[in-house]
């Protein structure tokens, strides 16, 4: 656990970077510090491993005041990942990763073996081991940065905008990989970003900081999106926080209809019959592997050609019915020309389709359940069933 206890950083010229910050980053979880530039998030992070010394207050790392041991020793026990990776250009990838174990006195071969393990963990090809950092792509360099930070197996990891310098597609991949790694290693992570979407995606808890290093709100992502503490937080979350919040509701409860799904070789008459009996305005045509081909309008079907041979309307994109969130399902429906979203399984085969209206009902139901849980928790604690009752609740499956 990392605890900030009324931590203030004031510079000699009077600027206050962090103002009486108190928060606790729980064990084995990702705590995100997010806010606009100048909100003191990086300063806060760097005070944990004493790259910057606080003016007032103290920081406890696993119960011990960070200032009780020499800075260099403290730092060898805390992993650190920064934006441009900060790899040593003169050392090979494997030696970069082996840096901290070597500083801790491990033999070269032991440190290298450890480095190879980590290359595997972060998904780096072992063929890259003898390369130098500049021979790697930005995304690969950032993986090396994460591997290097994990090499000595520190309980605590500090990450300062580690994925900001790569392009959006690589960033998305790195974020997902990072969550996968964290699920395996369960480190106590303090993560700085200016990107609220990244914060919502990665954070178990989010601390929103405002200019001057003042803590505006410290909450779970779902609670943050549901109930921003003030106008600043609300503005920082953006105008689509309702949509963002859907990230936390899983799509696997949606009632997917199999009726409007027809095989490509279906005769037009049979297709019309199926549409009429079910009252479906559109039919989704699938191939032999049940992969979606496109939508067809049964009323416009004529002639004797099977539906697969007729002109089909694009289905936009699909969502994974078992793992995706309501946000993905809603996006799929909004994008679809027919207003229906296509749910698929892990192999990409269509399970069924769902209308915007059904998704809207599911959203209302999810919100109602969430509110009910909040109220219930509030009652247990003997508080009035107020709107911001009780501690955060994570009972709803987080579908990331």
């Amino acid at each position: 656990m990392i605890s900030f206890e009324r931590v203030t950083k004031r510079y000699p010229d009077g600027t206050v970077a962090v103002s009486s910050l108190s928060l606790e980053a729980p064990d084995g979880a990702i705590t995100v510090l997010v806010g606009p530039s100048g909100c003191g998030k990086t300063t806060s992070l760097r005070m944990v491993n004493r790259l910057i010394e606080p003016t007032e207050g103290r920081i406890l790392v696993n119960g011990v005041d960070a200032r009780q041991q020499p800075a260099a020793e403290l730092r060898r026990g805390i992993g650190y990942v920064i934006q441009q990776a900060g790899l040593f250009p003169h050392r090979t990838i494997v030696d970069n990763i082996a840096t901290v174990p070597r500083l801790l006195g491990q033999s070269r071969s032991a440190a290298r073996n450890r480095a190879f393990e980590l290359m595997e963990l972060v998904g780096l090809d072992k063929a890259l081991a003898k390369r130098y950092p500049h021979q790697l792509s930005g995304g690969q360099q950032q993986r090396v940065g994460v591997a290097r930070a994990l090499a000595a197996d520190p309980p605590v990891l500090l990450m300062d905008e580690p994925f900001s310098a790569v392009d959006p597609i690589v960033r998305k991949g790195l974020q997902e990989e990072f969550l996968r790694i964290q699920a395996a290693v369960a480190k106590t992570i303090l993560f700085v970003t200016h990107d609220i979407d990244e914060a919502v995606k990665l954070g178990d808890k989010i601390a929103v900081l405002r200019q001057g290093g003042i803590l505006a709100q410290f909450d779970t992502p779902d609670r943050l999106l549901a109930e921003p503490a003030d106008e600043f937080v609300e503005q920082f979350l953006g105008t689509d926080r309702g949509i963002k919040r859907l990230t936390f509701y899983t799509a696997n409860g949606l009632n997917l209809l199999g009726g409007p799904v027809v095989a490509a070789d279906t005769e037009p008459a049979a297709a019309r019959e199926a549409a009429l009996s079910g009252g479906f305005p559109w039919l989704l045509v699938v191939d032999e592997q049940r992969r979606p081909l496109g939508w067809t309008n049964p009323e416009a079907l004529s002639g004797s050609q099977p539906v697969g041979k007729t002109r089909l309307v694009s289905f936009g994109h699909v969502f994974r019915a078992d793992t995706d969130s309501l946000r993905a399902a809603l996006d799929s429906a909004v994008l679809s020309p027919t207003g229906w979203a296509v749910g698929v399984d892990a192999e990409g085969g269509v399970i069924g389709v769902v209308s915007q209206e059904t998704i809207a009902d599911a959203i209302r139901a999810a919100h109602a359940t969430q509110a009910h849980v909040d109220v219930a928790v509030g009652d247990v604690e003997g508080e009035p069933a107020a709107e911001d009752a009780g501690p955060e609740d994570r009972s709803l499956e987080q579908a990331r």
Binding site: L51, L103, R131, H134
Partner: protein, 216 residues
């Protein structure tokens, strides 16, 4: 008679001149580097110290060598040291900026990463900053070495102290143009060889440097 046979008034054979040339000029360059490393490191750390230091070493560079010889002869007499000291002083004007530029070229995020991983100041300098600064420093060393080789010729005016430069003074004194040509080509060949050797050394020291690597 080979072109490398020298008349007796040169008071040295060809290999003797070459040995003196290499010993004094490269020795001065090495000594200059040893002095420049701490000065350069200090200038990179305390930024405001660099401009005055730079002015100082540049002024030193502008002092004519003959004047320095006259001043030094009183203390070090007619020895190689009298030639050696000015060469060291001149090399500073090239090497100090080289070291400062090299240390400053270490990317800030690399320095922060080194601190954050628990490098102490000495280890950070030796294992991170100095290796990364090496290509820039070596570029300066190559210039300083070649310039030392050339500047040393003036030592010939002190007698037998100019390495191949002795061939110029003796050649002029005895109207032997062959010696002047020999000295000139020997200096050029030596400068070229030293530069190539230092370049090879640089590649050995910095296998990671961008120029040699093949893109992934």
């Amino acid at each position: 008679m080979s072109v490398f046979d020298l008349p007796s008034y040169v008071q040295n054979d060809y290999l003797g001149l070459m040995g003196q040339q290499i010993e004094v000029s490269l020795g001065a360059c090495a000594a200059g580097l040893a002095i420049s490393l701490p000065i350069g490191q200090a200038c990179a750390r305390w930024r405001h110290a660099y401009p005055p230091v730079l002015v100082f070493v540049t002024i030193l560079y502008s002092i004519p060598s003959i004047a320095m010889f006259v001043f030094l002869v009183a203390y070090t007499h007619l020895t190689e040291t009298t030639v050696f000291i000015p060469l060291v002083i001149y090399s500073l004007a090239i090497l100090v900026p080289g070291v400062v530029d090299g240390i400053r070229a270490v990317p800030p995020e690399v320095r922060i990463a080194a601190d954050a991983m628990g490098f102490g100041p000495a280890r950070r300098y030796l294992q991170v900053e100095l290796p990364i600064a090496t290509p820039t420093i070596m570029a300066a060393v190559r210039v300083a070495a070649v310039s030392s080789i050339s500047l040393m010729s003036v030592g010939g005016v002190l007698g037998n102290l100019g390495g191949f430069g002795n061939l110029f003074t003796q050649g002029l004194r005895h109207f032997e143009i062959r010696l002047v040509w020999l000295g000139l080509f020997s200096l050029l060949a030596l400068a070229l060889a030293v530069d190539l050797a230092l370049r090879a050394l640089q590649r050995l020291l910095t296998p990671w440097s961008a120029r040699r690597s093949v893109r992934a």
